[in-house]
Symmetry: C2
DNA sequence: GTCTATACGATGATAGAC
DNA sequence: GTCTATCATCGTATAGAC
């Protein structure tokens, strides 16, 4: 792992624990094991770290939903794939996902606009999948916007789960069951 | 409205917009229309404001769920009442709810422990309602913990909704439909 | 209760030696 | 690339006059 990778890795953990604004570059440097000023040989600013973390997650979600939507599956199968995509992205980098979920509002104006555009792109495809399911009769009637937000929101706590707490249940299967039941006709 | 009320009101708005750590007492004083030092004639510290906001919301939820659980209703009716409770608390003070949801981790050790105890109390009752429904056959099998977290999480985006965006749908009714469908057998 | 003045530690970031 | 030294600013909070 390069020093730069280690900085981003520790930053994701630090920001996820204390929040972006309450995290200092001095904290971060200490965790990386260098002096604060040395961070700036690898990154331009604190905000650049946040941007990299948030944009990278957002891009993963957009790429994932596009790939799912391109395949020839019915709407419910697409939603199931969306749930598994969410779980898989979360499992891969839980700290980054916490930052992505909770700290994006601290992006500066330019990054924030890019971020919102990516989110818009994701939400538009998501809603079109739900509407497709409503037209085919697989998904119950109701506001697709409310369903979409509720589903996304329902998925956003899963980073809290560690291996131990899963007991007899597989988290992915349980979440698929929950989400599909909530929107099926 | 007293000055103290106005401080808490503006603080809830400010913290909800910028997050607790990124909000300064100088910001807050400006919004209230006084000098920063004058805030301290009404409150002891910045953290005291956060504590008041978070604890007051937490208490509303605990009081609400206790009152619902005491009534003689079946499990699904209790869950429906929980959804409406959540919507009603959120509608009453959306800014405080955002702070309660997103900023509680910045409470100091003592407040944090109290906060977590209240959350624990809420979650224990919630899970017991779900289990009661599983035993009576109204609620499908599966992890009650996963269901509870998903339901709570699904409800936590509703503060984003303003009057305009509701179109032809009643948010409360849509959320009741979503949550009940997700857990029914 | 509100003000002016201020204490004083923490903040993000830079300059320049090595 | 890392360090020491430092800067300018902003952070919460207090003292004391009115």
């Amino acid at each position: 792992m390069t020093r730069k990778e280690s900085i981003f890795r520790e930053a994701a953990l630090l920001f996820s624990e204390k929040g972006y604004s309450a995290s200092s570059m001095r904290d971060l440097a200490e965790r990386v094991g260098i002096e604060p000023s040395s961070l700036y040989s690898h990154i331009k600013s604190k905000e650049e770290i946040l941007k990299e973390i948030c944009m990278s997650c957002a891009q993963d979600f957009v790429d994932g939903i596009k790939s799912i939507d391109n395949k020839d599956r019915d709407a419910l199968a697409k939603v199931e794939a969306l749930v598994r995509l969410h779980l898989s992205i979360t499992a891969e980098n839980p700290n980054s996902i916490i930052v992505f979920n909770d700290e994006w509002k601290h992006l500066d104006t330019n990054s924030l606009n890019l971020f919102k555009a990516l989110r818009q792109e994701y939400e538009t495809i998501f809603k079109s999948i739900l509407k497709e399911g409503q037209e085919s009769g697989q998904i119950r009637t109701g506001s697709s916007g409310i369903m979409m937000n509720s589903v996304i929101s329902a998925l956003s706590w899963v980073h809290q789960v560690d291996g131990r707490s899963s007991k007899n249940y597989d988290l992915s299967d349980e979440m698929v069951a929950f989400v599909l039941a909530s929107i099926k006709s």
